[in-house]
């Protein structure tokens, strides 16, 4: 018997730059949250994770970030720029991977400035003196997301779109190469949905330090419009991974979401329209 083959495969996969997931599984007790997920995302690309509720999108993102918590049993490895994420110490990891969670509020009234400034923590030692340089950096990322005027406003009083942009600004301040977002356009109106996604896409296209972005989304057409790659997840399994035009097929989407749909591929991109029959909906 020669065990060299899987080892060989591993070494070629992981030396690739970008994000690599290798046979990722996650379970909470008897419940499997993720089963055997493997993919590779080249650096500087935007990946959209699609799937029904409870498919494992959030679990996948947390697993990539390494924040699933130790109550869950996991196996498999995530590599970012050739390094196993779980092996990177927490403080160092925060310099390479930034996370934007679903919106939450704090009991104490933090200002936007204070929330964004937390992005500097990974770059500071445990005991750090305040520094006027910090304020400049915070204002500069706030300017990049167009919020410099709201710096002193209480975070909780900002609109959903502004809060989301604020959290993206904080992630920018972390100067991490990989940005993870859990449903960044939830609860946002159409304008902000497009503005946030366009912002993320433009960040991935920056010439020197383009970000690699992974985000979970619900709107398939938005995902098709702004993502370079799509991952379709259902029941904790990765059903498809690739460019929107390849991945989005009527057959797959019907299987995943349980609704009849029409997929149009045009030169402007891919468009999906769900047109469920009454019978399908009543089945629910």
């Amino acid at each position: 018997m020669c065990p060299a083959l899987p080892w060989l495969k591993t070494s070629t996969m992981t030396s690739l730059p970008g994000l690599t997931a290798e046979q990722l599984s996650l379970s909470a007790g008897p419940t499997r949250l993720l089963s055997d997920i493997s993919f590779h995302l080249p650096p500087g690309q935007v990946l959209g994770v699609l799937g029904p509720n409870g498919a494992g999108k959030t679990s996948l993102l947390q697993q990539i970030a390494g924040t699933s918590g130790n109550r869950l049993k996991s196996s498999g490895t995530i590599y970012w720029q050739g390094e196993a994420v779980q092996q990177i110490p927490l403080h160092e990891r925060a310099r390479r991977i930034a996370q934007v969670d679903q919106l939450h509020d704090s009991v104490f009234a933090l200002t936007l400035f204070q929330v964004v400034r937390m992005g500097l923590i990974p770059h500071q030692p445990l005991f750090a003196l305040p520094n006027s340089q910090d304020d400049h950096q915070v204002m500069s990322v706030l300017q990049q997301v167009g919020l410099q005027e709201k710096a002193r406003q209480e975070f909780a009083t900002l609109s959903g779109g502004e809060q989301q942009r604020g959290l993206i600004a904080r992630a920018l301040l972390q100067r991490a190469g990989l940005l993870l977002l859990d449903e960044p356009v939830n609860h946002l109106d159409v304008y902000y949905q497009h503005s946030i996604l366009a912002l993320l896409k433009s960040l991935s296209r920056r010439p020197d330090d383009g970000l690699t972005v992974v985000m979970s989304l619900h709107d398939i057409n938005l995902a098709a419009a702004y993502c370079d790659q799509l991952a379709i997840v259902a029941g904790g399994r990765l059903l498809a991974f690739g460019q929107p035009a390849e991945v989005l097929t009527a057959e797959l989407l019907e299987r995943v979401f349980g609704l009849t749909c029409i997929v149009n591929h045009t030169e402007h991109g891919t468009r999906v329209d769900f047109c469920p029959s009454t019978a399908e909906v009543i089945q629910l």
């Binding site: 927490l90 310099r95 996370q99 104490f108 204070q114 923590i121 500071q124 750090a128």
Partner: protein, 330 residues
């Protein structure tokens, strides 16, 4: 000058001058002239010298330190549990000290310790004992989240309280009286050497919290966010609990139970100076100190011929304040 700067300046000034003004009040009055003379030159007489340097000054300085320490303990606990209602009282620290005090008061004097020190030592041990129990709970599976930790602390507090009452009920009435009086809090027993015992942990706590303030800020947005920013949420919470316990234990051991300072002062400070940890810590240090100095003046002067326990004053002011604050919110 912005209003925030002005507030800082006023707070700093009042922290500097409150002890001096407060030392004028007491059962034996000192005139401003005498205090001025004591400070700049020598006191006019032996009696004034003794009252000012041996009784009044240690007491007002002790109030300043104890108030600051309690307020910082409360602020830290509120930060790491993300709960505005957290207070050293809720974590069984004071109840543990009370149990320690009750046990030594009931026991016959064993003579290990110098006269008069057994009660503070037992209270200190009791406070730390309960902190270890809370830490054990925090590290266990039952109390992972801040909410569970708070509930565990309350349960522990009630349990220790019940044990204290049991000990007192069985013990002799004189001991019960002594412990009851101690639980109500008083700065009478503070002497100059005790000041150092409070000042040293307070100094280190302020430095530690101030320097790692940004990380305590990150705790405010939840453990997940803290982790994603590279902050070990569990470890920070542990650190916060230890700091809080150290401060509370020394204060409670020497001054007994002084309620509401740890709960109330950080709330006022957040309203005046914002919620970031550094401002809250420095503000609580100063405002907590000033508050307790003047609460102690009330304790000394409200009744003609005797002192009121300071815990009664702080709890009375604190509860009214709290209700007013709730009304303002609603």
């Amino acid at each position: 000058m912005t209003s925030v700067r002005l507030r800082w300046a006023l707070l700093l000034l009042s922290a500097l001058f409150s002890p001096l003004f407060a030392s004028l009040f007491g059962s034996a009055g000192l005139s401003p002239g005498v205090v001025w003379q004591c400070m700049t030159d020598t006191c006019p007489g032996r009696v004034e010298d003794m009252i000012f340097f041996d009784i009044r000054l240690p007491r007002v300085l002790g109030a300043l330190l104890a108030g600051g320490a309690l307020a910082i303990a409360g602020a830290t606990l509120q930060n790491v549990t993300r709960n505005g209602l957290a207070d050293p009282y809720l974590f069984g620290i004071v109840a543990g000290a009370g149990l320690g005090a009750a046990i030594v008061s009931v026991l016959p004097d064993i003579g290990w310790l110098p006269e008069g020190t057994s009660l503070p030592v037992a209270a200190f041990a009791g406070a730390w004992g309960s902190v270890f129990l809370v830490q054990g709970l925090a590290a266990s599976r039952w109390a992972r989240t801040p909410e569970q930790l708070l509930l565990a602390g309350i349960a522990l507090s009630l349990m220790l309280g019940a044990a204290t009452h049991m000990v007192l009920y069985i013990g002799e009435p004189f001991a019960a009286n002594k412990v009851m009086f101690w639980m109500m809090g008083s700065l009478t027993r503070l002497e100059t050497p005790h000041l150092l015992l409070i000042a040293v942990p307070l100094f280190f706590a302020v430095i530690l919290l101030w320097l790692s303030g940004r990380r305590f800020d990150a705790m405010l947005l939840g453990d997940k966010t803290a982790l994603s920013l590279g902050v070990h949420a569990g470890q920070m919470r542990m650190l916060g609990l230890i700091v809080c316990a150290s401060l509370t234990a020394v204060v409670v051991a020497h001054c007994g139970g002084i309620g509401f300072v740890g709960l109330m002062i950080p709330h006022i400070v957040r309203r005046w100076f914002g919620v970031n940890t550094r401002a809250v810590i420095l503000g609580s240090l100063l405002l907590g100190g000033v508050f307790l100095v003047w609460a102690d003046v009330l304790a000394r002067t409200l009744l003609e011929s005797q002192e009121l326990p300071i815990g009664i004053i702080t709890s009375a002011i604190g509860s009214v304040f709290f209700l007013l604050m709730m009304r303002q919110r609603a």
